[in-house]
Amino acid sequence: MENNTASPKNILKNPPVQIILFGIVLCLIQVLSMNGVISSSFAFALGNTLIYAVMAIGFCLLLGYSGLASLGTAGFIGIGTYAVYYIMQENGYPLFLAFLVTLGISLGLGVVVGFISLRIEGIYLAILTLGLSEIIRNVLMAIKPTIKLELANSRLFGIQMNDRVAYFLIVIIYCLLMWVTSNLINSPTGRAMVAMKNSTSAAQAMGISLMKFRLMAFVIATVYAALGGLLYMVYVRNLTTSSSLLLTLTTSLNILGAVIIGGSKSLWGTFVGTFIIYGIQSMFLSRIPFFVKNPAFITMVTGVLIVVVVMFFPGGIAQIASNISASFKKRKLAGAAAAAEEKKGEE
């Protein structure tokens, strides 16, 4: 670990501190919207973006760190949404139980699916998970095409979960998952995943079991996607599976796009990516009359953005950020070197 000198600049570089600060900022936005400073639809859209950001964190670990491409995210979201519906709406149990059940089901399903499908790699894995996601969607649709969670049934520890409370829950879960994931990335597990992505043979020679870590990454992504589904249901409270795009390939691709735009090896990048794909659209573009009249153009803007980022910044937005900070550092170093030269000259 690095030296923990307690200067304020170093404290800010500490990931948990960054995450907590970000969480506070997100909560402040909601508080401001309660006081009418920011429009409530803006805050609602931000909450929605955060839900997708939760799924994107898991996908970032899967794609950016383990090098596995899955298109099954949407199916696993469905598991979360339907678990909430059946446990809270049909049976009247509290949210906490739905949370546990979602965790359990997605863990189990992730392990089973992963165990079967992770023997193949690359595009074949994407095709397999895509098929699986469609199967899950159709099964869920056959079970019940429309699910709706009554506000009265949505409770966590006796607190009524309206939009605003749910927003805070989303922020808490988002920050918690960010923290856990960044910890995992900076531990032997995360390093094993990167090793596996770069060179399977080197990883194996170093004692890393490919199956174990592929499975781990896959299960984590599955659980995060299912948690995203759970949060979606608590926040939005209704879902028409047959007409909604949530459980279709679109969502899986959007999350893939978000992770790539943001930078597949950056956790903060995933937020920026989801914000560009989901946030900008619902927070800003949908206010411009031109886009309200022609909603198809909104998708076009996202598409152009993806093309631009992939062409010019293959490392995503995170790469732009790191380029800028690197150039600053270079200037600083050059400045220091020049100063040292000058001193030498004086002597």
């Binding site: 597990t189 043979s201 020679a205």
Partner: protein
């Protein structure tokens, strides 16, 4: 599964070493009891290891008998036998396509041999059948390898490359890792310290924070060797360590290999095309061609062998 037992022992071994380190280097008195307990547990576990019932002659670390590896009709390795003595530098040579790398891949279980036995005396003093081990478990017995085409993890720093090599030395559970509990932080420090020592030994300290991408080839080759040293090797397998190096670097490498053998008390098995290097440092050389053994012995014996001369230089027409 035999490897399950070894896995447990290996874990206990690193746990014990971790506590020893905490007591000795960090002066942490609170770990003394834990260190004692860990040592005891390790001793018990080593004693409890079931006997494999395989024997190899004294002083031999790796025993290869009638090794065959066929790819369809291609007999890449065909009935090869040799023995590697403990603490020696063993060279495997042969013309291109002779099956040298295939032999390495069989020993490290990247390929499962078609037939033949591979017996190895592991770190716990037991003789095991390598064919029963999975590819990622070979390392806990003390076999580490490098690759012909440098497989360095390019996305991370040099230091992280070594930490990846130390992967099996962490005993923290997934939960400890997910919440960065104190145990992981301490373990991280212990492994990092070891990595820094290895980097120092290899003379790579100035490069430690460099990302592996874009470094000179010679440095990348050194990183691979450094990685093997991270894993407490019993047998280091080097696949063409001198390929792509200039004369100076090759001479340096020769010294380095001997220094590693003496310092780390391990056996080294290498494939190399640079005959100067092989003849200089190897105590025993085995020459193979088309998967079959041509000659085995000291460098002088192999050089004088008629078959070897024919394989390398062809048959002179006048004879």
């Amino acid at each position: 599964m035999a490897s399950v037992n070894y896995n447990k022992v290996a874990k206990l071994r690193y746990r014990s070493r971790f506590y020893d380190y905490m007591v000795e280097e960090e002066g942490d008195k609170s770990c003394e009891a834990a260190a004692e307990q860990a040592r005891k547990k390790l001793d018990e576990a080593v004693k409890a290891l079931p006997s494999t019932g395989i024997t190899i002659p004294d002083g031999i670390v790796l025993d290869v008998q009638d090794l065959c590896m066929y790819f369809g009709g291609v007999k890449a390795v065909d009935g090869l036998s040799f023995q590697v003595k403990e603490g020696e530098i063993f060279g495997l040579i042969g013309p291109n396509g002779a099956g040298k790398t295939t032999v390495f891949n069989c020993i490290t279980q990247f390929y499962k041999p078609t037939s033949g036995t591979l017996h190895f005396k592991n770190k716990f003093g037991q003789v095991i059948d390598l064919n029963k081990e999975r590819v990622h478990d070979v390392i806990i017995h003390g076999i580490v390898r490098t690759f012909q085409n440098v497989e360095v993890i390019r996305e991370v720093s040099i230091l992280d490359n070594l930490l990846i090599a130390g992967h099996r030395q962490y005993t923290s559970s997934l939960v400890t890792q997910a919440f960065h509990l104190p145990l992981l932080k301490k373990e991280e420090k212990v492994v990092r310290d070891r990595a820094l020592k290895v980097l120092d030994f290899m003379g790579l300290t100035p490069y430690k924070d460099f990302p592996a991408v874009g470094l000179p080839y010679g440095v990348l080759k050194k990183i691979e060797i450094a990685r093997t040293l991270m894993c407490d090797p019993q047998l280091i397998i080097l696949d063409e360590p001198a390929a792509g190096l200039n004369d100076n670097e090759t001479a340096e490498l020769a010294d380095l290999i001997q220094k590693i053998r003496d310092e780390y008390k391990c056996t080294i098995l290498l494939v190399e095309h640079d005959m100067g290097l092989v003849m200089d440092i190897c105590e025993t050389i085995c020459c193979i061609s088309f998967g079959k053994r041509l000659a085995i012995g000291t460098p002088e014996e192999v050089q004088a062998d008629k078959n070897v001369q024919t394989a390398y230089l062809g048959v002179s027409e006048e004879e």
